[in-house]
C-alpha cells in the first residue's frame, strides 16, 4: 500500500525555484493499479521519482507498506521516461542488472530473462549495446529489467510511449496479468486516455503545472477481459477527456 500525504516538491536550480507538485494526497491499496494522467509538465515524473525514493519531498511524506520512503527500496521497480539503460552494458546485462544486484545466480538470471526477452520481442538482440537499438527496443529492455525483478511495487513512466499500437496492447494485457498474479501495486504515468482507462483501477488526474490533484476516478472494472469494448470504458474515457479539457 502506498500512502502519499501532503506532498509538495520544488526544484531549485541555481537559486531559481520551480514548484512542480503541490499538496498531493493519495492512497493506493496493495495490488491496485493507479494511473497518473495530466498535461505535459504537470509533475507526473516528479511524483514517480518521489514514490521511488529518488527525490525527497519538499513537504509531506510518502509511505509504502507503512515504511517511510527516504531512499530507493529493493522491492520497488521503476521504468524511467528516458529508460535509464547503461550505455556500456549489453541488452542482456542491462536487463539482468536488477537481478545481478540482488545477487541472483547466472542460471537463475537466464531462467527468468530468456522467456521475458522473448515475450518482449528482444530475442537475438542480447549482445547489442543500447546505442545499437531502436527507440522502442530500448524501451522494451527497460520493461524487461523492471519486470524481471518480481517487485511488490512497480512504477512506470510512459512505459509504452515508443511502442507500436499492437505491441502496446499486448503489453498492457501482460501487465494486467502480472499485476494480478503477483499482487503488484502499480503506478503508471501515461498520456493515452484509453490506456489510462484500461489499466487504472484508480485514475489520478493532475492539473497543469504546478501539479495538484484535479480528480481521482475509481474504475474498478479496469483490466477485465473485453472491458475495452464495453459501454463503461467509453464513458470513462470521455470523463477523463473532459477532466483534462477543463
Amino acid at each position: 500500500m502506498i500512502r502519499v500525504t501532503g506532498v509538495s516538491y520544488t526544484y531549485i536550480n541555481n537559486g531559481a525555484r520551480v514548484s512542480a507538485l503541490e499538496d498531493i494526497n493519495l492512497t493506493i491499496p496493495a495490488g491496485q493499479a493507479c494511473v497518473l494522467i495530466g498535461p505535459s509538465g504537470c509533475g507526473k515524473t516528479t511524483l514517480l521519482y518521489l514514490l521511488a525514493g529518488l527525490l525527497k519531498p519538499t513537504r509531506g511524506e510518502i509511505r509504502i507498506n507503512g515504511a517511510r520512503v527516504t531512499r530507493p527500496r529493493r522491492q520497488t521497480a521503476i521504468i524511467l521516461q528516458d529508460y535509464g539503460l547503461l550505455p556500456w552494458k549489453t541488452v542482456w546485462k542491462n536487463a539482468a542488472l536488477g537481478l545481478a544486484l540482488r545477487g541472483c545466480s547466472r542460471q537463475r538470471q537466464q531462467e527468468i530473462l530468456e522467456p521475458l526477452l522473448a515475450a518482449l520481442g528482444l530475442s537475438g538482440l542480447e549482445k547489442r549495446y543500447p546505442a545499437q537499438l531502436s527507440g522502442g527496443q530500448k524501451q522494451r529492455v527497460a520493461i524487461a529489467r523492471a519486470l524481471s525483478l518480481e517487485p511488490d511495487t512497480l512504477l512506470m513512466d510512459e512505459p509504452f510511449s515508443a511502442l507500436d499500437a499492437l505491441t502496446r496492447e499486448g503489453l498492457q494485457q501482460t501487465l494486467v496479468d502480472i499485476r494480478r498474479q503477483r499482487c503488484l501495486t502499480t503506478v503508471l504515468v501515461t498520456h493515452n486516455i484509453e490506456e489510462a482507462v484500461f489499466l487504472g483501477q484508480q485514475i489520478v488526474v493532475l492539473t497543469a503545472a504546478p501539479g495538484r490533484l484535479k480528480a481521482v476516478l475509481e474504475n474498478p472494472e479496469a483490466g477485465t477481459p473485453d472491458y475495452r469494448f464495453s459501454e463503461t470504458f467509453h464513458r470513462n474515457c470521455s470523463r477523463v477527456r473532459q477532466l483534462l479539457q477543463k
Binding site: L54, P72, A77, I78, G84, W88, K89, L97, L101, Y129
Partner: protein
C-alpha cells in the same frame, strides 16, 4: 578505419617526423641536434646496452603508472561524487600539484635511496594528481538519470560505483592515463638524471656529457619508441575495456 590503413598512417607519420627532424637538423646546423642517420647508427651501436636501460625505465614507468591508477582512481571517483570530500581534497591537490616534485627528489632519495624507490615515488606523485583531477572531473559529469536508474534497481553505494560510476568514467580514465604516461616518462627522465647509473635518462645524459650525440639521440629514440609502444598498449586496453565505444 581498417587496421591496414592505420599501420600505413602510422608509418607515414613516423616517416614525416623523421623528415622534419632531418630538415630541422640541416636547418639549424647545430651539433646538439644531429641528423637522424647518426641516431640510427647509435641505436645499432649501443643496442644491447640500451635494451638493459630500457628494461629499467619501462619497469619504473609501468609500476608507478599502475600504482597511481590504483590509488587515484578510487579517490577521484569518490571526490567526484561527494562534495564534502572534494572540497577537502581539491585544495590539497591544487596546492601539492604545482610543488616542483623534482626539487624534492634529493629528499626522496635521502629517504628511499638512489635506487628505484625514490624515482618511482616522484613519478607517482606527479601522475597521481593528474589522474585524480581527471577522474574527479569525469565522475562529476555523470548524468544523474543514469545513477537514479541504477539506484532504483536497489543498488547500494558499492554497486553504484562498480556498475555506473567506474564504467562511466573509464574512457576519461584512459585519457588520463595517456596524458600521465607522457608526464611519467618526462619525470622518469629527470629522476634518472639526478642520480644513479641506470635507465634511459641516464643513458641519454651520459651521451650528452660525452658529447656523443649519436648515442644521446639513440637513447632519445628508444625513449620515444618506448612511449609509442606503451601508447599502443593503452589503445589496446581501451579497445578491450570499452567494447561499447567501438
Amino acid at each position: 578505419m581498417p587496421f591496414k590503413h592505420k599501420i600505413v598512417a602510422y608509418l607515414g607519420s613516423i616517416l614525416f617526423l623523421f623528415g622534419c627532424w632531418w630538415l630541422l637538423a640541416r636547418g639549424i646546423n647545430n651539433p646538439g641536434l644531429p641528423e637522424p642517420r647518426l641516431a640510427l647508427q647509435g641505436l645499432a651501436r649501443f643496442w644491447p646496452e640500451l635494451a638493459r636501460h630500457l628494461y629499467f625505465s619501462v619497469y619504473r614507468v609501468v609500476v608507478s603508472l599502475a600504482l597511481a591508477l590504483l590509488l587515484a582512481v578510487p579517490l577521484g571517483l569518490w571526490a567526484g561524487r561527494n562534495r564534502a570530500v572534494d572540497s577537502f581534497l581539491a585544495p590539497m591537490v591544487y596546492l601539492l600539484y604545482p610543488v616542483p616534485k623534482v626539487a624534492l627528489l634529493p629528499v626522496a632519495m635521502v629517504l628511499l635511496g638512489i635506487g628505484d624507490g625514490a624515482k618511482m615515488l616522484i613519478i607517482f606523485l606527479v601522475i597521481f594528481n593528474q589522474i585524480l583531477i581527471t577522474t574527479r572531473d569525469a565522475a562529476r559529469k555523470i548524468p544523474d538519470q543514469l545513477l537514479l536508474s541504477v539506484a532504483s534497481l536497489g543498488a547500494g553505494k558499492a554497486s553504484l560505483f562498480r556498475q555506473v560510476i567506474l564504467p562511466a568514467c573509464l574512457p576519461d580514465i584512459i585519457t588520463a592515463s595517456r596524458v600521465s604516461l607522457g608526464s611519467a616518462i618526462s619525470v622518469l627522465f629527470l629522476s634518472e638524471t639526478i642520480a644513479g647509473n641506470s635507465g634511459l635518462g641516464y643513458f641519454i645524459l651520459d651521451g650528452l656529457f660525452r658529447a656523443d650525440y649519436g648515442a644521446m639521440f639513440a637513447g632519445i629514440l628508444t625513449m620515444a619508441g618506448m612511449g609509442l609502444v606503451l601508447y599502443i598498449l593503452l589503445h589496446l586496453f581501451e579497445y578491450l575495456l570499452c567494447p561499447w565505444e567501438r
